[in-house]
């Protein structure tokens, strides 16, 4: 029974770690509760949603999912959201990744200033950009188009990707590219043959992070799209803000759950990649 004796002897030193764990759990519960409630409500029949006191026991139903997923505008918006998130994610990882590499490696007068300026552009509140963008899009006749939203998202995704990737590249020893350049590559060749494969964990996680940002973006989507290219967050806002019929909570929670699901899955994936990338010691020769 040595373990008992031990735990008796160390009771005092175990007290604070336990308090910390308890506090952490409490914080998780507080933050996750709304999500839990949303998912729970999405499986409730309309009449169960508003029972007082709220019930945890009810006959689950997929009614809301079937009902609203079958509506043309929801599934089309889902497809729109996928197109826009993937499009802007891919464009910004390519452009931002290469820009980040240039900032990390090319010795150029004023490179630092350029980098900071681009980053500062993130400080402009999106609302200040949304209306001018709408005006530009209208005069070009491209409102309510996927490409418009994709380009609009790139304006905030590229600086973000650029800085993240710059950090990744700075952590790689520059001798790797130098060695490749001596071995017969141009700078571009060294980037694509050595740096890109090594940075894959970082590139993929950044790509997914930016796709998540695009996925859940509301403001630009609201201003720049109408029906054809409109996205899921717009739909959610529409349901929640339906002043004529009142918010349809069944629909709202079902669509909400459906929207959050890929974000959660991808976030977990990214986390795994990131940790794996670090554990691999990609930077160690």
């Amino acid at each position: 029974m040595t373990s008992l004796a031990l735990s008796g002897g160390t009771r005092k030193s175990r007290f604070w770690p336990r308090v910390r764990i308890a506090a952490g759990l409490l914080a998780c519960v507080i933050f996750l509760f709304p999500v839990f409630w949303m998912v729970l409500s999405s499986f409730k029949a309309q009449r169960d949603i508003f029972t007082v006191p709220p019930t945890l026991f009810f006959t689950p139903t997929l009614q809301h999912y079937f009902e609203y997923m079958q509506r043309a505008d929801i599934s089309r918006r889902m497809i729109n959201t996928i197109i826009v998130a993937a499009g802007s994610g891919i464009i910004s990882i390519v452009a931002g990744g290469m820009a980040g590499y240039a900032l990390a490696r090319i010795r150029l007068r004023g490179a630092g200033t350029i980098g900071v300026l681009i980053l500062l552009s993130r400080g402009v509140p999106p609302i200040a950009l949304a209306v001018p963008m709408f005006l530009v899009a209208r005069s070009l006749g491209v409102t309510d188009q996927h490409i418009t939203l994709i380009l609009a998202y790139c304006t905030f995704l590229i600086p973000y990707v650029m800085w993240l990737m710059r950090g990744f590249f700075l952590a790689l020893p520059k001798e790797l590219e130098e060695s490749a350049m001596i071995d017969g590559c141009s700078r571009m060749g060294a980037f694509f043959k050595i740096i890109v494969p090594i940075s894959m964990p970082g590139i993929l996680s950044t790509l997914i992070f930016s796709m998540i940002l695009a996925w859940e973006e509301l403001l630009f989507a609201l201003v720049l799209t109408n029906r054809y290219a409109s996205t899921i967050p717009v739909a959610i806002a529409g349901i929640a803000g339906d002043t004529v019929n009142g918010a349809n909570w069944g629909a709202l929670t079902a669509v909400g759950t459906f929207t959050v699901l890929p974000v959660v899955v991808f976030a977990l994936l990214v986390q795994k990649w990131l940790i794996q990338g670090l554990a691999d010691g990609a930077t160690k020769g």
């Binding site: 001798e175 790797l176 490749a180 350049m181 590559c185 141009s186 010691g281 990609a282 020769g285």
Partner: protein, 354 residues
């Protein structure tokens, strides 16, 4: 035939000059070591030869071709970096074959050359491993293998052994020397370790603060250092120095008044520093008096640390001694083993040999 010539090369980073007019001619097959304290510009010079740094002024010529504006990949050089810079996503075979693949050499030929290099370096068993599954010494070998499969005009090494432990470093040092004798490729080797430079190189270039202090065969630097800097830098344990004024050509008066008799008259006057290597001092009955402070026997030789006036000197004698700490000993050196320098300029002054 691949000679390397460095002609009046300067390098500045912005307004900060780091290399001041270095010239150096390296003949075909020669092994040249660049040695000097940290920050003296060794790596910068090597990287300019590789094409990884721009040349601010002057020319670098490889195999009779000015390469100032030629990309690293077109200079036909191979370089081994201090951190090896192995490509982490490629296994040993791919790492070694990478340069050949870039040059569109046939698969068979690549396999043949990689196998050949692997055999020379004893890497046959490791060809399918990734770099992270290798020990430091094995990574170092792979880095060398990557250089030798290229069969380049020039090998460039930047402190390739400094990440290894002491024992492995000595072993790799002899392997490197053997490799050079076998392949005969012109080599420029940067190190801050003077022993490494002395043992490996045909010619040692001692750099200090962006200039070349002295260059020559290792033993010439040892026997005839042209400046105080080189005298202090080359040799281990380091040379003993005594500083004083020369009132007569035959005796140096130290600042505390101790008179150090010189076995041969010395030209010049004013502040003078004399240097004698520990291994060139010997015990006599009538020499410079010094009080023993520490005795360190290693078996084959004994190092005696003693105080001579205000100076601490080291004496290295073969065999053993029954001298005790606290005892006064008398040491002396042969005239040819005493190096005389002008204190102010640090330049060597010739002894008058009569």
């Amino acid at each position: 035939m691949s000679t390397v010539a460095i002609r009046n090369v300067h390098k500045s980073y912005g307004a900060l000059p780091v290399i001041h007019c270095v010239s150096l001619d390296i003949s075909d097959g020669e092994f040249v070591a660049l040695v000097g304290p940290s920050g003296c510009g060794k790596s910068t010079l090597l990287r300019m030869i590789a094409g990884l740094e721009d040349i601010t002024a002057g020319d670098i010529v490889i195999a009779d071709r000015v390469v100032n504006d030629i990309a690293p990949k077109d200079r036909d050089i191979a370089m081994v970096f201090q951190n090896y810079a192995l490509y982490p996503h490629m296994n040993v075979r791919q790492n070694m074959g990478f340069a050949l693949r870039q040059r569109k050499i046939s698969r068979d030929e690549i396999d043949r050359r990689v196998m050949n290099a692997a055999r020379i370096l004893g890497l046959e068993q490791l060809l399918d491993r990734k770099p992270r599954a290798l020990s430091g010494g094995q990574r170092q070998r792979v880095a060398m293998g990557r250089a030798i499969v290229r069969n380049p005009n020039v090998f460039l090494f930047d402190e390739p052994l400094s990440n290894l432990d002491a024992k492995l470093r000595v072993q790799m040092r002899s392997e490197l020397k053997e490799l050079h004798q076998r392949l005969g490729v012109t080599t420029v080797y940067v190190t801050h370790d003077q022993i490494e430079a002395m043992t490996l190189a045909d010619r040692v270039v001692v750099m200090n603060g962006g200039i070349v202090e002295q260059m020559g065969p290792p033993l010439e630097l040892y026997d005839k250092p042209m400046s105080l800097f080189v005298a202090a830098f080359i040799g281990s344990p380091p040379m003993n120095f005594l500083e004083g004024s020369l009132n007569t050509p035959n005796a140096l008066i130290l600042d505390d008044g101790t008179e150090v008799a010189l076995p041969a008259p010395v030209a010049g006057n004013g502040r003078t520093t004399i240097g004698v290597r520990p291994e060139h001092l010997f015990l006599t009955d009538a020499g410079w008096p010094a009080v023993v402070s520490v005795i360190e026997p290693t078996g084959s030789e004994t190092q005696i640390t003693a105080r001579l006036g205000d100076y601490v000197i080291r004496v290295l004698i073969r065999g053993r001694t029954d001298v005790q700490p606290g005892e006064t000993i008398h040491v002396s050196a042969k005239p040819a083993d005493i190096h005389v320098f002008d204190t102010a300029s640090g330049r060597r002054r010739e002894t008058v040999t009569t």
